[in-house]
């Protein structure tokens, strides 16, 4: 087991790191099992690649596995071998059953955060001039209508935010509104969660349909206020 020891320890250490250490780093959170699985697969691939780079390292790594599986000169480990040969298929079967059997748990989500906007919204340009007054006015509207959820600091941590899963978008995060054009925000604010298209399933957005409350001009001003307050810039092509 000499050459196998290191890879096994590495896999265990990696798992413990991803499962227990990474989540306690300030600002972090527990990783979903899909991501842990992905990183462990990469680690295992790395181990196999490295250990098979030469004939000697391959024999040292693969030899014990082969001997164990074929039962060649393994002495007292024979019982363990039979155990593995019986348990492994059972484990695969159990895993397969578990992933296909009917369950009362909601399914795992692969939600599309940024579904494509309808054609009539693409290419729209903010008609409101970008003046300090309009931006200030936009921030005022934002404070009144948006900040309870999206936060006074534009960080998605408004007083009502804790009531929502998923949490309201954090505009200060450079991976949210900074990736989008103003016309996209206009569509999302105007139509809200109920206006999401089919590809936006499972439509988990509590965003109100603001077109019922606010005129378009206010929405455009809010967009300007959001970008300015979150210190971000909209995506443009010029």
């Amino acid at each position: 087991m000499g050459a196998l020891g290191k890879p096994i320890i590495l896999m265990i250490v990696m798992y413990l790191f991803l499962k227990f250490v990474l989540p306690i780093i300030p600002g972090s959170a527990p990783l979903p099992s899909s991501l842990i699985f992905l990183y462990l697969i990469l680690t295992a691939s790395g181990i196999v690649i490295y250990e098979t780079l030469s004939g000697e390292s391959k024999d040292a790594f693969w030899g014990p596995i082969q001997r164990f599986l074929t039962g060649e000169n393994i002495g007292g480990l024979q019982a363990l071998r039979y155990g593995v040969l019986i348990l492994f298929p059972l484990l695969v079967g159990w895993q397969t059953y578990g992933s296909t059997a009917t369950s009362d748990l909601p399914p795992t989500e692969s939600r599309t955060i940024h579904p494509a906007p309808p054609g009539e919204y693409t290419g729209l340009v903010n008609p409101v001039p970008k003046t300090p007054e309009n931006i200030m006015q936009g921030k005022g509207f934002y404070a009144a209508f948006c900040s309870p959820c999206h936060g006074g600091n534009f960080d998605g941590k408004g007083p009502a935010a804790r009531g929502y899963i998923p949490a309201p978008a954090n505009f200060a995060d450079p991976t949210t509104i900074a990736m989008l054009q103003e016309s996209y925000l206009f569509w999302r604010i105007k139509k809200g969660g109920v206006g999401l298209p089919i590809e936006g399933a499972p439509w988990k957005s509590a965003m109100p349909r603001w077109e019922l409350e606010l005129p378009d001009e206010w929405i455009w001003k809010i967009i300007m206020g959001e970008y300015d307050g979150a210190h971000q810039s909209p995506r443009t092509w010029e």
Binding site: I49, L53, T108, E109, P166, P234
Partner: protein, 619 residues
């Protein structure tokens, strides 16, 4: 009497007459009838009084059939258009440098090419018939727009075929003196026509995604405007490079399979070397491919925000995570092959480079981990609650383009350095400036890597347009600068270097052959995946924003069912290529087994079967 009955009455007597030829003929005819069903109007759709707009086919469905045939045609075409580029380059190297083995290699590549050419044309013909039968309205519209280029395409095809015949059959007859120059020129012409054969149909396909329609002007003016659409050149460049990558890896896989099966030392050496060249060509293209892909996506995004978001942020965005995985396997597989080469072909080098290989492997895996981390994670309700949504608060930043561009550039740099390491292995520098040269190269590499990372991190804090237009471009330029600096410096150093260990060809372990096959399968899967992405980005439009798809198939298939078709296309293409190569090498195997001389064969071995021209000369 219905059309089906008429058909049945015609077919049945024929079947009875031909019964003596065996069941295979009956099966063939039945298949032909089944394929011909759409043309006799089964499930034809159109307006009550108007012409037929769509036809369908039972069970498989018209869309799926066209999808499969189009994908197979594209894969074959990619191979057929990619291989002549490096076959010709190999011939030029042999011609100018005098190394005969490159000429033999070029000839072997061309043999594969001639075998695949007919099959490509066959699938192209089937695709055309199916399109005309299933989508008459669309084809009518496209014919109206592109009629002049249809004629041009036919001419190009004639020239390409004639040139290929001359190039292949004239190989041995044009080996010396001015005749060789003429042969090399024919190779150039072959590539010249091949390039246009690729870019003309690219115009038709890209027009569907980003149409430019003008209502005035002559037919040629309208066709030209439609051809020069926003995504035409990005696709041309992307496909040109991708074809080289596909061709290289498939030739590598061919060499890998042959390497695993041949017995003689000479053959093992040859196919080991051929596998190395195939992998090198694949890697060479792979280094440039992400740049071309990025440019294409940028143009799509700029052309239409909706299409860009559908691809990169919408329901097709998951494809790019799968894409990352496939490209990652390709990078890992290619590097693994280089490292195995250092270990096995250059005895004694393993100890020297093992640490470096470990560092490169760790770096590649870290980069791949970043590339494969999605922006929105697949999570259960419980897991999503703990994260506060589908974004991980810490790792979510790895899910956007700035991170992806950075790691893809770093992976290109690492792979390039793998090659440089392979190149240098077994040699000792003797030049007086070697120390300084290596220090300069090391500094360039370290500084370039740091610059790529700094630009990547900085990219989060600048407007998107600054990142896209300046930072990402600068990252690419930095990588190109490294390649253009280190390659000539290494070549200069090695010119005067002393060879301490001779390269031993034919000593690679079987897993090297398998890794070549794996690379080929990955690149085929990658092409089927991105073919689906490009086509699906049009959503419910035949011609985006111009002609709506009003058939029952005007929906995008779910990723799961799409992946079934992609897997089938990959599997079938591999089987097809294996068959073509088997046929192509049948003559060689027969000859090697000591079969009767060529004189005894009645008709020689056809070009389709890779019959070598030298064999014909003997008769």
């Amino acid at each position: 009497m219905s059309a089906i009955q008429q058909e049945r009455e015609t077919i049945q007597p024929s079947l009875q007459t031909d019964r003596s030829h065996g069941g295979w003929l009956a099966s063939l005819l039945l298949t032909a009838v089944w394929l011909a069903l759409p043309s006799i109007g089964i499930a034809a759709e159109g307006t009550a009084a108007g012409p037929t707009e769509y036809r369908d086919i039972p069970y498989i469905g018209s869309r799926n059939l066209v999808w499969i045939v189009a994908q197979l045609h594209l894969l074959l075409a990619g191979f057929v258009l990619g291989v002549p580029i490096f076959a010709w380059l190999c011939e030029v190297i042999a011609w100018r440098g005098g190394e005969k083995r490159y000429d033999k290699l070029a000839k072997e590549f061309t043999k594969l090419l001639t075998s695949a050419y007919a099959t490509t044309a066959l699938f192209g013909g089937i695709l055309l018939f199916l399109l005309v039968a299933f989508y008459p309205k669309l084809m009518n519209y496209l014919t109206d727009v592109f009629f002049p280029s249809f004629l041009l395409y036919c001419l190009l095809f004639l020239f390409e075929t004639a040139t290929l015949y001359l190039y292949w059959y004239g190989w041995d007859a044009m080996q010396h003196g001015r005749k060789k120059t003429l042969h090399v020129f024919l190779g150039f012409l072959l590539n010249f026509f091949a390039l246009f054969i690729m870019i003309v149909p690219n115009a038709w396909a890209t027009f569907q995604s980003s149409p430019v329609v003008i209502s005035e002007g002559t037919a040629i003016e309208r066709a030209w405007a439609a051809t020069w659409n926003p995504t035409w050149w990005p696709i041309n460049i992307h496909r040109l490079i991708a074809n080289v990558v596909l061709g290289g890896y498939i030739c590598g896989a061919y060499a890998g399979v042959r390497y695993l099966s041949v017995k003689s030392k000479e053959d093992r050496e040859h196919y080991d070397w051929m596998g190395y060249v195939g992998n090198f060509i694949g890697v060479f293209g792979l280094l440039a491919l992400p740049f071309a892909g990025y440019w294409l996506m940028r143009e799509i995004y700029q052309y239409n925000q909706q299409m860009g978001i559908t691809l990169m942020g919408g329901f097709l965005s998951w494809l790019f995570i799968i894409q990352a995985m496939l490209i990652g396997v390709l990078f890992l597989g290619s590097n693994y092959y280089f490292w195995l080469g250092i270990t096995y072909r250059i005895p004694g080098s393993e100890a020297k480079y093992r640490k470096a290989m470990l560092m490169m492997l760790i770096s590649l895996l870290l980069c791949l981990a970043v590339w494969m981390t999605p922006h929105s994670l697949v999570a259960s309700i419980e897991e999503a609650q703990k994260m506060g949504g589908a974004h991980h608060p810490l790792l979510g930043v790895l899910g956007v383009m700035s991170a992806k561009m950075t790691v893809s550039n770093l992976m290109i740099l690492i792979t390039f350095m793998s090659f440089v390491m392979y190149w240098r292995a077994g040699k000792e520098d003797t030049a007086g400036w070697a120390k300084l040269g290596k220090a300069v190269m090391g500094a360039v590499l370290v500084l370039a890597s740091l610059a790529v990372i700094v630009l990547g991190v900085w990219g989060y804090f600048v407007p998107a347009i600054v990142r896209i237009n300046y930072f990402s471009t600068s990252q690419v330029l930095i990588v190109i600068f490294v390649i253009l600096t280190i390659t000539p410096l290494t070549a200069l150093l090695l010119k005067s270097a002393k060879t301490t260990t001779e390269m031993v060809w034919g000593s690679m372990p079987p897993r090297a052959g398998y890794s070549l096959v794996l690379n080929a399968v990955m690149v085929i899967l990658l092409m089927t995946l991105m073919g689906y992405a490009r086509s699906s980005s049009r959503v419910h439009w035949h011609v985006y924003g111009v002609m709506r798809d009003s058939s029952p198939y005007a929906y995008s298939p779910a990723l799961g069912s799409a992946s079934l078709i992609m897997a089938f296309c990959t599997f079938f293409f591999c089987i097809l290529v294996a068959f073509i190569f088997w046929v192509a090498t049948m003559g060689d195997k027969y000859k090697a087994a000591g079969g009767p001389g060529k004189e005894e064969l009645p008709h020689g071995i056809p070009a389709m079967a890779g019959g070598a021209p030298d064999e014909r000369k003997k008769t």
